[in-house]
């Protein structure tokens, strides 16, 4: 369970690092499919509850496939669409960060921003 300070800090990191960098939607969630924090740029709508359930299922399925081929995990999970794309990252053993972004942003920038964010989130989670 996360305390109020941690949730505030996580919200802030997501807002500053990801939304202000131009990403459309960001969901921080647990592996069971529960949303912990969600942010968007206010421009487009997303059914984030259903999305989180599907994302958890998708991540879990790919993770199980990795184990079957002897990989501890596949580090990059990325779905590219014509207008928008989705990027999945594991934050720690229990949580995931999902970002959605449009074609104006490069995957390289997203990966960089996501990596920074994950580091910060893990620091936040490490201090009670």
């Amino acid at each position: 369970m996360f305390n109020q300070n941690q949730l505030d800090a996580i919200d802030n990191v997501i807002q500053v690092n990801l939304i202000e960098a131009g990403l459309d939607h960001v969901i921080f969630m647990d592996m069971a499919g529960n949303t912990i924090a969600k942010h968007d740029n206010g421009k487009s709508h997303l059914d984030s509850t259903a999305f989180a359930a599907l994302a958890a299922g998708n991540f879990a399925a790919v993770d199980a496939m990795a184990k079957l081929v002897g990989e501890s995990e596949f580090s990059l999970l990325f779905h590219k669409g014509e207008k928008s794309s989705i990027h999945f990252s594991k934050v720690n053993d229990d949580t995931l960060l999902i970002t959605m972004f449009n074609k104006d942003i490069s995957l390289g920038l997203v990966r960089l921003k996501v990596a920074e964010t994950i580091k910060k989130v893990n620091t936040i989670l490490a201090c009670e």
Partner: protein
């Protein structure tokens, strides 16, 4: 484990409908979705094969109001019941807070019910969860078949097969007609909420 967010004051609870293939798990959720349509904000999500068998899960979230200032959201899931899908069944159980075991009262399904329940016990063990401590409700489904020529098992037999050790609440039901679907749902919600309240509030 239920997700409790102290900032947004939300609690998200995961309830899984588990049981043998074709037992009526998806039909339970479809009935609930129809019955409570105007209280449910999102569409039901079903990942299924072309012949309507669950491939990964069905998903249906809905709000049940507030407890001690927290908004409670219930997320209903079904597992795929077919034997070959145990790997995905296990994935759906991750983070489960309460379980409805949907058994099929048809005589020819007797063994499948028992095998499915045994496997549920094992699958929970992989998450270090104990079926005997899990909020659980039994549903003996397709009771409407009593009125046809199809042989069905008596409630005593179902109880003896599945519930003699667990001793949890059990209901005869007809997911197809809606009989006791809501009663089953209310029971698992109240049992699960009671167990979560013991843990956190």
């Amino acid at each position: 484990m239920a997700l409790i967010n102290v900032k947004t004051r939300e609690v998200q609870i995961k309830i899984v409908y588990y049981g043998p293939g074709r037992g009526g798990k998806t039909t339970n959720l479809e009935y609930i979705n129809k019955k409570y349509r105007n209280q449910i904000k999102t569409e039901m999500v079903s990942l299924k094969t072309q012949d309507d068998r669950t491939l990964f899960f069905d998903f249906l979230p809905f709000d049940v109001g507030q407890i001690k200032g927290f908004d409670i959201t219930i997320q209903l899931y079904t597992v795929p019941g077919q034997v070959k899908y145990n790997a995905t069944r296990k994935l759906v159980l991750r983070g489960v807070d309460g379980i409805v075991f949907v058994a099929d009262v048809q005589k020819e399904q007797r063994k499948k019910n028992i095998e499915s329940l045994n496997q549920l016990y094992e699958n929970l063990e992989t998450y270090k969860l104990d079926l005997f401590k899990m909020p659980l409700v039994m549903q003996y489904n397709k009771i409407d078949l009593k009125l046809t020529n199809i042989p069905v098992l008596s409630s005593q037999t179902m109880q003896k097969d599945l519930n003699s050790l667990l001793r949890v609440p059990a209901f005869e039901a007809s997911a197809l007609k809606g009989g006791n679907v809501i009663l089953t749902l209310k029971k698992i919600i109240s049992t699960t909420l009671a167990s979560i309240q013991d843990q956190v509030f």
